[in-house]
Amino acid sequence: MKFFQRHKNTFRNGIHPPEEKEETSHLPIHQFPFAPTIILPLQQHIGSPSKVIVHKGQEVVRGQLIAEADGYMSVPLHAPVCGIIRSIAKVPSITGKMVPGICIDSFPSSSQEVVNGTAVSLEAATPGDILKGIQDAGIVGLGGAAFPTHVKLKVPEGKKCKVLILNGIECEPYLTTDHRVMLEQSDDIITGIKYLMKATGAGRTIIGIEANKKDAAAHLEERVKDDENITVQVVPVKYPQGSEKMLITALLGQEVPSGGLPIDVHALVVNIATTAEIGRLLPLGRGIQERVITITGPGVKKKGNYLVPIGTPLRFILDEVGAGETTGEVFLGGPMMGVSVSNLDISITKGTSGIVVFNKTLEHRNRKIYPCIKCGACVEACPLFLNPSKLGLLAKFEAYDEMADQYHLMDCFECGSCSYVCPSHIPLVQYFRFSKSIVRERQSMKTTA
């Protein structure tokens, strides 16, 4: 069976949704205006929320530390604007809950100079210093997961990182931020790679780029051609190749063990924009205060790739890009894994890679759900070789334990490929999300009991 299934240079299964990138992929990154008010939730990352170290009424300058990391599994927050702390209170979040946060009124006439901190020198720093520097800069995975980068890069005792993989795949439709970052920030990327290779001890680096970004691949290839330890590898376009596991399989031909991490196959995967951020911030000792976001979709007049201050309210952004009157659907991230927005008073956070606006409700929302006809489309789409059809039926029977124990439910990372291809329009991913939360609940009850 191997003969049929192994495609070189990519992973098996997956889907080909329309890319929808051509409208923004050629647009250079533009600085986005500063909003009058910036809203910063304290937890913009996976882990414990940052601890506030400023008080109401205090003046802050752009780049100043305003909340520090609360332990190892946490990162600090820096002021994205020069301004005054208006309040330290509950702020709306993408989950729909009110969460602790900081509101800053920005000074309208400020030149928005950024303060520098203690630089982390590439030559002098130890791997530990670099990881500390990454944490101090407040850097998290900018691809969307917002997992603290210094934690991810920490090679556990007894393990070895041989290959560093830079993720320039950007397989989500509509999004073009990584594409632009690769074209415009190659200096930062190369500096970032040097920091990362030193921090992880990796001997070589592979930059993985999908074939729809050949210009970016050619540009980076030109930049690294003298360094034999850094290679650029172009892979065929397929969703969800930007997932860590899929990318490792595509580039290294290996599978990450079920329940394991990339380090189990001696690899670490870092998003390309995260790498650029490391290369830009660490030499200056700065913290992250802005990020590149693709703002696009049929509901947006001024589509583009923008450098947006973190904490910019969504309503302000939509008004600026001519999507202010939109009635329809707005989501943060790409259309495959992004999260619907229910409240325009939320702000963008470190993990927001895109804002996609549809000016009407998507037609397929109203499609009829048919019974599963066992066509197997989901089985041939699932990149983890799960059986979504079977899992879907079990979810209906509420057989959550069987789903987890026998059908690897917990391996599912909700890429959405099964729901995308299902001709019967069964909301499989929704079933799995629900089932996973129940399994997690039962597991935590077991451990506390």
């Binding site: 495959m336 397929h364 197997g376 059809s389 079977k390 026998q406 059908y407 001709p423």
Partner: protein, 339 residues
């Protein structure tokens, strides 16, 4: 500012433009050339048989949905497929009322009692045919010749036979190639089989038209290409082995491939998604079983044709294949064996 309505939903926010009813509709489209050829070869009688079984299927599906107070599911086209397939497996001069009756029972006992579309264990068309085979053994083995000169002008005398009356056995019946080979050891020319210049069931006579329909569905991504390949491949392999052992006693593989209902069965019946396994490996196994059983029944069974029972048996095995054969999950080493 105007109040805005935002639609919120979980990801994925986009979906492929495909639907179960579109798939079913395209299967109907792929079957139309087969029907057209059947009518061209056998005339008005063939048309009557196909129509009668479609009406039987669709009417039954609609009535049963209504009786059980559900929304009618006839517009998903699946009952039409069952009707066409059933019609195509019956002899062209088959009494219309019997074809109608087969459609009624195929849908009622083959599909509806299991829960309708998506839940049927067996291919409903074959359930209908199996019942007809048991109930009307004479009528279902009475074949009229193809390309009769008056086929577009007159119906076969048995077409309008009255219910529960013994139909007139048609004077001009011709033996099917499989029966000729099985009982008289007479071989029909393979090219006649491919082009359908033979007598046989309404829609089983031209292998080429059937293959064309199959290619269309595979091209549209609406059919699992592995199923027909596995069925035909295994039938070809097995009959080749037999032919090599004793060419005098066993038919050549190409004859086996193109005769009887094997082609129609492999392309349009075995591929019933609901009644076949879901994993690629499972489908290979399932298809291989059908090919093997078909040849076994043809060679050693009491009947000249074995495709129908081969597929029905494989349908019954299919859930068990699915139970044992699960995809090897990414990052694990062996096939998942569910207990």
């Amino acid at each position: 500012m105007l109040p805005r309505t935002l639609h919120i939903s979980t990801s994925p926010h986009i979906a492929k433009d495909i639907s179960t009813d579109t798939i079913m509709f395209h299967v109907v489209l792929a079957l139309l050339p087969v029907c057209a050829f059947a009518i061209y070869a056998f005339g008005l009688s063939a048309l009557m048989v196909i129509l009668a079984s479609i009406v039987g299927c669709v009417l039954t599906e609609h009535m049963l949905c209504r009786l059980s107070r559900q929304e009618s599911t006839v517009n998903d086209w699946s009952a039409v497929i069952t009707g066409i397939l059933l019609g195509l497996t019956l002899p062209p001069g088959f009494p219309a009322w019997m074809a109608f009756f087969g459609g009624v029972l195929g849908i009622a006992l083959g599909k509806f009692i299991f829960g309708g579309l998506g839940y049927n264990v067996f291919n409903p068309a074959l359930v209908g045919r199996a019942i007809l085979q048991a109930a009307f053994p004479v009528a279902i083995t009475t074949w009229s010749s193809s390309f009769l000169p008056e086929r577009f002008l007159v119906f076969s005398s048995s077409t309008f036979a009255l219910p529960f009356m013994e139909p007139n056995i048609d004077g001009i019946s011709g033996a099917t190639p499989l029966a000729a080979w099985k009982f008289d050891k007479m071989l029909t020319d393979t090219s006649d089989l491919a082009f359908g210049l033979i007598s046989g069931s309404t829609g089983e006579t031209s292998a080429l038209v059937i293959i064309l329909g199959g290619i269309y569905l595979v091209w549209r991504g609406m059919m699992n290409w592995r199923t027909p390949l596995a069925v035909l491949g295994s039938a070809f392999l097995f009959s080749s082995v037999l032919y090599m052992i004793d060419p005098a006693n066993y038919a050549p593989p190409m004859f086996m491939m193109c005769s009887g209902g094997l082609m129609l069965g492999a392309v349009f019946m075995a591929t019933d998604m609901v009644a076949s396994p879901i994993t690629p490996l499972g489908v290979w196994i399932y298809g291989a079983i059908i090919g093997l059983l078909t040849i076994i029944i043809r060679v050693w069974g009491g009947l000249p044709e074995g495709v129908m029972y081969a597929i029905l048996i494989a349908n019954a095995i299919s859930p068990h294949i699915d139970h044992v054969i699960q995809p090897r999950v990414y990052g694990t080493t062996k096939l998942k064996q569910s207990a």
